[in-house]
């Protein structure tokens, strides 16, 4: 939803079809094999509805399933990783990069690998931060417990003198204010939601697929499990509530 919001802001004329696999969330702690299976089912659902591009707004799914899906389908499939890596390396003086993400993303070494391929000599520290998603979902954005959890994750990165911190999970943008408070002022934050929206715009432009300006883009939400929490969360992530929510059936 942080990505939806960034796309709405950057590309207000585009219609967005959002699929949230809320029945099987979170993907962060699941095995690569299971994540690939789930992501494949998610993509089939969207393809069947005639989308022109797919944004995989989940770092864990991107880490494990993006190459398979890109090989399988002819349309642009945008992951959050390349966009984030571009943004992190936009500053030519970057030397020491910290990455916080779910355990699945950190273990996949996908960010570490993508960064190292693009620039030699970088010092990269990955830190799994599995408690941040539940804390964000509880909206404990500046609870003292959240600060203690963050300090536990961040202290080792700060000790290593990072100059850039990549927020490699689409939940984390909501933690930017508390991260700013806890980190030294000279550590740059790179957030994958806004960078991903910029990457999508570039791709749509390149392929001449942008919607005509003037049209007001719609948002259609499909979830595999309907629960009150989603609407509360969506309201928080989007700053306006989504319309009617549809129940999606995947697999089979």
């Amino acid at each position: 939803m942080t990505v939806v919001r960034a796309v709405q802001e950057l590309l207000p004329a585009e219609d967005i079809l959002y699929l949230g696999d809320t029945a099987r969330l979170p993907y962060g702690s699941k095995s690569p094999e299971t994540i690939r299976q789930f992501a494949g089912e998610d993509a089939r659902f969207l393809m069947a509805r005639g989308v022109k591009a797919i944004v995989m707004a989940c770092n864990t799914a991107t880490a494990h399933a993006l190459p398979c899906l890109q090989a399988q389908y002819p349309l642009p499939i945008i992951g959050v990783i390349e966009a984030g890596v571009d943004a992190a390396l936009a500053n030519p003086h970057v030397e020491r990069i910290g990455i916080i993400a779910t355990r699945g993303t950190i273990r996949s070494h996908v960010y570490q690998h993508a960064l190292a391929l693009r620039r030699t000599g970088l010092i990269i520290h990955g830190q799994a931060a599995p408690l941040l998603v539940p804390l964000v979902e509880e909206n404990w954005l500046d609870h003292p417990a959240t600060k203690l959890v963050l300090k536990t994750y961040l202290d080792p990165l700060v000790e290593k003198g990072i100059d850039t911190l990549m927020l490699a999970c689409t939940h984390y943008p909501l933690l930017i204010p508390v991260l700013r408070e806890l980190l030294p002022a000279d550590v740059r934050l790179v957030d994958s939601a806004t960078t991903c929206a910029e990457h999508l715009k570039k791709e749509l432009l390149r392929l001449d697929l942008l919607a005509a300006a003037g049209h007001e883009g719609t948002l259609e939400v499909h979830l595999t499990d309907l629960s009150e929490e989603f609407e509360i969360l969506a309201g928080r992530f989007l700053k306006k509530s989504p319309g009617r929510i549809h129940r999606a059936s995947l697999g089979g």
Copy 2:
């Protein structure tokens, strides 16, 4: 796994077939409809393997799916709720009961209802504690952040003068040491894992289904998603590691 351990200790001759729906965990924040669908698939998997009794070692699943499954199958299906309620009311002087559980269990009012049916005049306070499962799974059992989270959940219950605290989630027994430290000494803890094993023993005795003594019970583990985390977790919950783990396919 806390229930498996309690059953192994109380009924060492019984063979245990464990099914963990790790691909779709956690159930705690999902809707009743989805939980009933998942629990039905779980039960079909176990029935197909010829079990003589089913223990639903999950409070959320028990809260939403137990009556449906009991109506559908002829064998004993033990939930964690009745056992916990029995244990809480074993003390005739109990007056004020606090319950901590996932949001799904608290919202279902299943404990509140079962307690109120069994004894009039009880004062019952339910407190959703959704961050405890992730903290236990991270093994942050006495981390300062865990204590802050627990204090946030427990303070309102302590202020209301509870004499009994029900741990209405099978993850929570691992928090007993820190709960003891944070709660006033006269608050009694009732844990659903051990009470559930006792309830199973009573049912098997009543139906003359107990395994012959002398046989050493086995443990066979089936999971819908295999991940390293499970083996680490299982080792912690069981105090000995399980044998070979099988991958289960549900649904379809």
